[in-house]
């Protein structure tokens, strides 16, 4: 163990800071030090994708990063997706309408993975969605409704932009 270090970063648009041991995982820092428990740890070895967050605008697995690596970074977690008045993000709304979640444990990571892909491909086909979300494991849904939801959410997002 070495001495705790200070970490300053921006999370969901807000400046945040914390102090932790250099060995602390980013997912644990987000959950325990920042109190944002919407980001989940499902495997702690970077496979299941439940812990996926936006790290400087790109999807990243927070269970295989150290908190110190995020010093100065900009993070977006599931708590930052809905609007401040509580209105769900179109992708959250689409997941709700298409029954794209059951236990909800993978859902935060799944939402981020989907939104990350839409940044490079706002008009994905079902096969492309399938490929994109294969980065996150869901054990409940069989993925079918997630694919439908991502397609529908993408349409709403496109319509809102145009």
């Amino acid at each position: 163990m070495s001495a705790p270090v200070d970490i300053r970063l921006t999370v969901n648009g807000q400046p945040r800071e914390g102090r932790c041991e250099p060995r602390k995982l980013l997912v644990d820092f987000i959950r325990e030090d920042l109190g944002l428990t919407g980001t989940h740890a499902g495997c702690e070895h970077g496979v299941c994708g439940a812990c996926t967050i936006f790290y400087n605008g790109e999807a990243a697995r927070s269970c295989i990063m150290f908190a110190v690596q995020a010093d100065g970074a900009e993070l977006l977690t599931v708590e930052g997706l809905a609007e401040s008045d509580g209105k769900l993000h179109p992708m959250q709304q689409a997941f709700h309408e298409h029954h794209a979640l059951q236990c909800g444990f993978c859902t935060p990571g799944m939402l981020i993975a989907a939104l990350d892909y839409l940044k490079i491909n706002p008009t994905p086909t079902e096969d492309e969605i399938r490929e994109a979300i294969s980065a996150v494991l869901c054990r409940c849904t069989g993925y079918i409704n997630i694919i439908k939801a991502v397609k529908a959410g993408a349409e709403v997002m496109r319509a809102a932009k145009s």
Partner: protein
């Protein structure tokens, strides 16, 4: 007021979703308790060994460590109490010839370790990092014993014995029969014998297990939060081992990130964590990590079947004999439930007059084997559905035709199968149209004849397509009971509590629909409490496709009694007879008199004890009833799965071209959620046959200790599924519902194995062992040139 009534059968969106979508759900890992301590375990690195010594002196002295205990320490501090495990009912025991020996797992191993990963010591520290630091400083001296990793070898005469006091690795055996299978087999014109192995795989929810506990010295009581499917069972065992009245132990499950059976029984940690919290006077939590989950949470399946079938020239089955072994690992946490499920479901939808099913349960040096979605049924269905295809091949008939010739017809319902279910009641298939479901599925997949033409053309071009069928019937909604409390809240909302414990099924929504219909209120005016022993004194929990069936019946009955009382009081207030009243718009009103009504909120006030109530004399205070529904027996769901695969003989890859499910779970409460259950279960079955495998080496070392080795299907692996529904209401409960939680996972291994064998029939290949991986397909194709 929104429209009320008629909500059962509608695809309401889930009330659970919002919190889960916004990161506001609360799972066990999200629970924060003041001054909470954290736990790590020291786990065995050997599969079978005698424990020589466990030295925790360095661990105990490590920074931040509050307590370090070995199994031997714990044995002194917390002596075991007799196992309170639920046994099968006496009725079953009197019908089925059986023997059982059930070794009781200590909370920490103290004499021997019996599988890699078994906990030998516990470290409690200020945070998980420090707890793991402490665990790394433990010194464990083990004397290696020969590892037993194969169930057949475990039962051989010279096997190393895992539970010394038993002097055998045979933990259980039973035999169930009807007719005279031996004689009928001898007389049969044709016989086939095959060996089927259904491999070890596991539920693998994305949330691992976890337990937290808080001790309150003021009242000498313990609160346990566990990511469990069975809060009342956890409370019962925790109270017993802690020597507390059940009234001083509360167990709750928060949001639970998937269960599928692996969280369906009491684990040592459920009992050890409350003990530690009481001993230390601080809250204590353990969160299982994924490596631990693979190393110590229950696995499933792992059955070896020796099957013999006798049949006539037309493919009619005359007799079936199945002798099977269940590899149950080091401990047997749920007894004979899963092994007997296999026997009870073996004949499936077919009329078989002569049957013998004999099972032996063997201890091995692996993780304990327990229920996982399907719970003994996928193994039965794999054996039965594979051998039907082999019968068809031998006679040169279509597999679908052989099935149709043997199936119970709709006009034969209810049908007595001739053996008992595990509740001890005779199996009676209550309703359904099995041939109809199969024909519906085959039609939806394009028809058998059209497929055969397509298959022939594809083969000309060197492509191997195959059609496979997997049909199952499933006893659902098993007893012994589930309860519900229904209360009219002073606000006028209808409150219900049941012992059901959800892990994503959407029960808050489903029960709100059922209650809204029963009370003619909006689902928004229904308050649902689940998975909390403080909310209802007795409960059974969510396992075995039972919660919607059993809890809905309990809600229905309790509602009837509350309604009767509400009408009595309303009649008093409105000065009419109870028979003149009806439920409407969140209240009770006089039929045909629009203005004459009293709201449920007012009725709750009128029903209160004390001054100025409006109860007629002789009517007790309160608008609340609890009913424990004891189902007469199970109700039978079923489905036909039909699949077309495209097997690449170069790479061994199996592409699923079409997947069709024709399903019947009686009256459907919420079609959207039912389809979600079927899709999720089917995905798990597809993973089971094609990808997932728990593997051990010859020394009992786990080879699949991460999700990089244990392959949970991704979105790329799961095809579109076409679902067709039949609705044969159950006559056994007030709503006519049947269970749906498990079914999806039961048929895919059989259907896909049959499809692959059909695709590769020019190679004469039979896959009777699972999983069917690309490697095994390549090997089989290499060894067999096309005929």
């Amino acid at each position: 007021m929104s429209e009320t009534g008629g909500l059962v059968g509608r695809s309401l969106l889930r009330r659970e979703d919002r919190r889960l979508l916004t990161g506001a759900g609360q799972f066990i890992a999200d629970l924060e308790l003041p001054r909470m301590l954290h736990v790590a375990f020291v786990r065995s690195q050997l599969a079978h060994a005698r424990i020589r010594s466990v030295d925790l002196s360095r661990a105990a002295a490590a920074p931040g460590v509050a307590l370090a205990l070995s199994g031997a320490d714990l044995l002194r501090l917390l002596p075991p109490v007799p196992d309170t495990q639920l046994s099968l009912p006496s009725k079953w025991r009197s019908f089925v010839q059986h023997e059982f020996r059930n070794p009781q797992q200590p909370l920490l191993a103290h004499d021997k370790v019996r599988h890699v990963g078994e906990a030998v010591a516990v470290i409690v520290a200020e945070d998980r990092y420090r707890a793991e630091d402490g665990a790394a400083l433990a010194t464990v001296e083990l004397e290696t014993l020969p590892a037993v990793v194969d169930a057949e070898a475990a039962l051989a005469a010279n096997a190393s014995i895992i539970h010394d006091e038993l002097e055998t690795n045979l933990l259980g055996a039973f035999s169930v029969a009807k007719g005279n299978a031996g004689f009928a087999l001898e007389q049969a014109p044709h016989r086939l014998q095959r060996r089927f192995y259904h491999h070890r795989y596991a539920a693998m929810p994305i949330e691992c297990r976890g337990v937290a506990a808080l001790y309150d010295p003021r009242t000498d009581s313990v609160t346990i939060w566990s990511a469990t499917q069975v809060v009342h069972w956890v409370r019962r065992e925790a109270a017993a081992i802690l020597g507390l009245p059940e009234a001083r132990v509360r167990c709750l499950a928060l949001d639970v990130g998937g269960g599928f059976g692996v969280k369906g029984h009491v684990y040592p940690e459920d009992l050890l964590i409350p003990f530690l919290a009481r001993r230390l006077g601080r809250p204590v939590r353990w969160l299982e990590d994924r490596h631990e989950h693979l190393l110590c949470s229950a696995h499933s399946r792992d059955q070896l079947h020796e099957v013999e079938i006798g049949f006539d020239n037309d493919g009619r089955i005359l007799a079936l004999k199945d002798e099977y072994i269940v590899d149950c690992g080091a401990w047997n946490p749920i007894g004979a439930g899963v092994p007997y499920n296999t026997a009870a479901h073996l004949c499936g939808p077919y009329k078989i007059d002569h049957l013998t099913a004999s099972c032996r349960t063997a201890a091995t040096n692996k993780v304990p084997n327990s229920a996982y979605r399907g719970a003994g049924r996928p193994e039965a269905v794999f054996a039965m559905e594979r051998i039907i295809d082999l019968v068809a091949a031998k006679l040169g008939l279509e597999p679908a035709e052989v099935r149709l010739r043997n199936m119970i017809r709709a006009d034969e319902m209810p049908y007595r199968a001739g053996i008992p279910y595990r509740d001890g009641e005779p199996i009676v298939y209550d309703s359904g149209d099995y041939p109809g479901a199969l024909q519906q599925a085959l039609q939806a997949i394009g028809g058998v004849d059209a497929f055969r033409r397509r298959q022939g053309e594809a083969r000309q071009r060197g492509r191997y397509l195959g059609l496979g069928i997997g049909f199952y019937v499933e006893g659902t909604g098993v007893g012994p009971f589930e309860g519900a409390t229904v209360r009219i809240d002073p606000s006028g909302k209808v409150y219900i509590a049941t012992g059901a414990c959800p892990q994503g099924q959407g029960m808050e929504t489903i029960f709100a629909q059922i209650v809204a219909d029963a009370w003619k209120v909006s689902p928004d005016d229904v308050v649902v409490s689940l998975a909390d022993t403080a909310a209802i004194p007795m409960g059974f929990g969510t396992v075995a496709s039972r919660s919607t069936v059993t809890a809905s019946a309990a809600i229905h009955r309790a509602s009837e009694r509350v309604r009767e009382k509400a009408f009595t009081i309303a009649a008093n207030v409105l000065e009419c007879a109870p028979a003149d009243l009806e439920l409407r718009d969140g209240g009770v009103g006089v039929v045909g008199v629009p203005g004459a009504a009293v709201s449920l909120a007012r009725l709750a006030q009128h029903a209160r004890p004390g001054w100025d109530h409006a109860r007629p004399s002789g009517v007790n205070a309160g608008l609340e009833e609890t009913h424990y529904w004891e189902p007469p027996t199970v109700t039978w769901s079923y489905a036909a799965h039909a699949v077309i695969v495209d097997v690449d003989v170069e790479t061994g890859h199996v592409a699923i071209d079409k997947y069709v499910i024709a399903h019947d779970c009686g009256v459907v409460v919420n079609p959207l959620l039912v389809e979600g259950q079927i899709a999720g279960g089917t995905a798990q079955g597809i993973g089971g046959i094609l990808l997932e495998e728990i593997a051990y080496d010859a020394d009992g070392q786990l080879l699949t200790g991460s999700l990089a080795d244990y392959l949970v299907p991704t979105a790329d692996d799961i095809p579109e599924m076409r679902m067709l529904h039949q609705h044969s209401p159950s006559p056994l409960n007030p709503l006519g519902v049947k269970g749906v939680g498990e079914g999806g996972a039961v048929a895919p291994p059989a259907a896909i194995a049959n499809a692959i064998c059909d695709a590769l029939s020019p190679f004469g290949v039979e896959f009777n062992t699972t999983p069917i991986t690309p490697e095994r397909i390549r090997q089989a194709v290499r060894l067999n040139q096309p005929h």
